[in-house]
């Protein structure tokens, strides 16, 4: 205020005054109370970015934090701390250094249970950041040159996974489901960093990991995903936990955080390409992978509501970890707190109950310029991201193959192309997928994309087709450049 009045004074003097004011401020203003909010983020865990790095960089939390009424005399200080996995965040929360933290389902469970066992350090789940209702996002990758194509191929091999992570949960789940004994393979614990290097050096046979590594490593060119969390059909999600003591004392801050989170979600959905580019700039995770997760029809759906199924997931996780004696008793009902979400929805004029009921994601839309039709069936659609920066929606795998062919013939480089796995329903990278190629009509061969080789084989056997790689499918597509979508 003072500064604007003095703005006609030469800038050097203004600066000097501002400095003096800064020094005098504590005495002048009846000592504003500084409250530090420690926020534990996972910048590299792509589906948590709207709860962390996006808020930080776009300063969305500052925008929503309460500054009036009983908070008039409080100065908020944000302490963003970045980690590569959930457990250190839980540690920081138990130590009282972090008030807000975000992590995947299994670490969330450990977080909740640890809090309940250390009285005075209880935490509460106040919102979800992103989910996949069938468990995709976690996955198991192998070196691209290895002869393994499904989980059973890894029998007796060395497989690493970060213990205590959502991916660890997925693997335990897969093992218990298949009735495999603990020594079915040699399951060891390696952090994403260590596991990645080991896989690259072929020192381990398989590596299970959480978002985004199971898709990032194939994108970086040395790995192949052979198991996707979607095969477990158990949801996976990342959520936000808050120290109960902090939330009770400053409920408006939690509501402000959720409102900021929802605004960040809107920001991503409004321009996913820009968001992916920005997230790459902030977190060094390639934009193609960010877009795969958070773009239209992406693997993860941004939705803050805590759906009953997610709470069930946590209970399943508790069952899995209890069996291994890794976690003690845990009261999920006391841990989940939707009141802040309801308040945030109310303040934004949105219906929380309705949001809780839906699993809808935003979809690929627009006109397919290759086959010249509108994209109407998003789960059969695809996208071509050209090196020039343009993202072209296409209506079917055939149109995508034809499009890639066209663009390459025209000398335009294709950055990445996305399709949907016919069996698992998840977005996949086209050139890493397997295809069931039906060439019975040579004029219009049909390639159906699958993430997993076995799914493509099964479909091919059923439909009189044959298994093909992207290159082979693309070769077949050459004649079909002008074929109409059908």
């Amino acid at each position: 205020m003072k500064l604007t009045q003095l703005s006609h004074i030469p800038s050097a003097l203004v600066k000097c005054l501002a400095l003096c004011a800064a020094f005098l401020a504590p005495q002048a203003q009846a000592a504003k109370e500084v409250v530090t909010i420690g926020i534990g983020t996972q910048n590299t865990t792509t589906n948590t970015v709207t709860g962390g790095v996006v808020l930080k960089e776009l300063k969305l939390l500052e925008k929503h934090l309460p500054k009036t009424g009983k908070y008039a005399n409080i100065e908020w200080k944000l302490d963003w701390q970045n980690f590569t996995s959930g457990p250190p965040i839980t540690n920081g929360m138990v130590a009282g250094k972090l008030q807000i933290g975000m992590m995947g389902d299994y670490p969330l469970l450990v977080n909740g249970a640890t809090g309940q066992q250390n009285k005075g350090n209880e935490t509460q789940l106040v919102a979800v950041i992103a989910y996949n209702a069938f468990g995709s996002g976690n996955g198991v990758v192998v070196h691209k040159d290895s002869p393994y194509y499904e989980l059973a191929d890894l029998k007796g091999k060395v497989v690493s996974v970060p213990f205590g992570s959502a991916a660890h949960g997925m693997m335990l789940q897969a093992m218990q489901e298949r009735g495999w004994p603990a020594d079915y393979w040699n399951l060891v614990s390696q952090s994403p960093e260590v596991g990645t290097t080991n896989l690259q050096e072929k020192k381990i046979d398989g590596h299970g990991d959480f978002v985004p590594f199971a898709d990032l490593l194939p994108h970086r060119g040395f790995a192949r995903k052979i198991f996707d969390g979607a095969q477990t059909k158990i949801p996976t999600f990342h959520g936000v936990v808050v120290r109960k003591e902090f939330a009770d004392k400053y409920p408006e801050v939690v509501v402000a955080y959720i409102k900021a989170l929802m605004e960040a979600n809107d920001w991503v959905r409004k321009d996913p390409k820009l968001a992916a580019t920005k997230v790459q700039e902030w977190t060094k995770i390639e934009k193609e992978v960010v877009y795969l997760f958070l773009g239209p029809g992406g693997i993860h759906t941004l939705d803050p509501s805590i759906k009953p199924r997610w709470v069930e997931t946590i209970k399943i996780a508790h069952g899995v970890l209890s069996k291994l004696g890794r976690v003690k008793e845990f009261d999920a009902a006391a841990w989940v707190n939707e009141s802040y979400l309801r308040e945030a929805f109310k303040q934004r004029g949105q219906d929380y109950e309705a949001q809780k009921q839906t699993l809808a994601n935003y979809d690929i839309t627009g006109n397919d310029p290759i086959c010249k039709v509108a994209v109407t069936r998003p789960k059969e659609a695809g996208e071509i991201w050209l090196a020039t920066g343009e993202i072209v929606p296409v209506s079917s795998p055939s149109c995508l193959l034809a499009g890639v062919k066209q663009y390459e013939a025209a000398g335009k480089k294709v950055n990445v192309a996305y399709l949907y796995d016919k069996a698992l329903g998840i977005k996949v990278v086209a050139d890493k997928a397997f295809y069931a190629l039906d060439t019975s009509n040579p004029k219009a061969p049909v390639g159906v994309p699958f993430l997993l080789k076995k799914d493509a084989e099964a479909y091919a056997a059923k439909s009189n087709g044959r298994l093909a790689t992207f290159a082979e499918a693309l070769g077949q597509a050459s004649a079909t450049v002008t074929a109409s979508a059908k």
Partner: protein
């Protein structure tokens, strides 16, 4: 008679008369007098004997450990919160529970065995290279000028920073782990050896040369034994640092090892297990350092151990 005055200053005040009674015998035999008090002269008090004996050392040692345990127990029991906070630190009883729990299966002992093997391997290689290189660097100026700058660059790099490179450098992960423990032990051993070699009294070297010693026998009979006290200091420090780097090293393994045990406990937020891992590493480190001190005594029987003020 010239040596006599020295004797007067030496004996404990309790037995002033004893040495005087003895000295003429020595002098009469023309032997350099040994400035030792006669043991039978006056029996020191029971307290004094105890104070100077092994019993006191053991008692003080026990007291040292017990006071740490007591502080830990009190701080966690009363949840000490005076800037330093013990609210969430596991209590000794909780850790004891874990001790019983982990010892119900042989896995924990296997973990210890594997870690000890890794440390010893890394330590042995570090000793061979550190002492060998240290003697050369300490003895020859050109070697020092050539090697030290490069080595000094590597020295401050923390063990954990080596993890990714170590995985890629070595074809086998077990070797990668040993490599990191080796790095921990290597630099203290090297630097102490260099220092030991440089600190040798040049008079000794000249004397040996005058007696016709060649370079090889000079190294063997003068330089190495002369540097030995420093080398053993280096070994003791190196052993400690090797254990310090264990968690970083065993992050690579993903299974087995006490460092891995501690790391895994962190990823599952089990504080009692973390404490147990820490204490185990501490105790193992203590045992290894003790082993080195014992070795030092055996290797340097000529060295009188100064015990310091009582």
């Amino acid at each position: 008679m010239s040596a006599l005055p020295r004797i007067d200053t030496y004996p404990p005040p309790a037995a002033p008369a004893a040495p005087k009674a003895v000295s003429p015998i020595h002098v009469g035999q023309g032997v350099t007098p040994l400035p030792l008090p006669m043991p039978a002269a006056t029996a020191p008090s029971l307290w004094q004997r105890f104070w100077q004996g092994r019993g006191a050392t053991a008692l003080l040692g026990a007291l040292s450990i017990a006071s740490v345990l007591l502080f830990w127990q009190l701080a966690t029991h009363y949840k000490l919160d005076a800037y330093i906070r013990f609210n969430n630190i596991p209590t000794p009883a909780q850790v004891m529970e874990k001790v019983i729990e982990v010892n119900s299966s042989p896995k924990f002992v296997t973990n210890i065995g594997i870690s000890v093997r890794r440390i010893l391997l890394g330590f042995l290689v570090a000793t061979a290279l550190g002492v060998g290189l240290g003697v050369v660097i300490g003895r020859y100026r050109w070697a020092r000028a050539l090697a030290m700058p490069a080595l000094e660059v590597f020295r401050p790099i923390p063990a954990i920073a080596w993890v990714p490179m170590s995985i890629m450098l070595w074809p086998d992960n077990e070797v990668s782990i040993v490599f990191i423990t080796f790095l921990g032990a290597f630099f203290p051993i090297l630097l102490n050896t260099v220092h030991g070699v440089q600190a040798i009294d040049p008079v000794l070297l000249r004397a040996a040369r005058t007696l016709g010693a060649g370079e090889a026998s000079l190294l063997r009979h003068v330089v190495l034994p002369g540097a030995l006290p420093h080398i053993f200091t280096g070994l003791a420090v190196g052993m400690g640092v090797a254990w310090v780097s264990l968690i970083a090293a065993e992050m690579i393994s993903g299974q087995f090892g006490i460092g891995y045990f501690t790391w895994e406990a962190y990823s599952l937020i089990s504080y009692a297990e973390i404490a147990l891992g820490m204490i185990t590493i501490g105790v193992l480190g203590l045992l290894c350092s003790g082993g080195i001190r014992l070795l030092a005594k055996l290797a340097m029987p000529w060295q009188a151990h100064s015990t310091g003020a009582p």
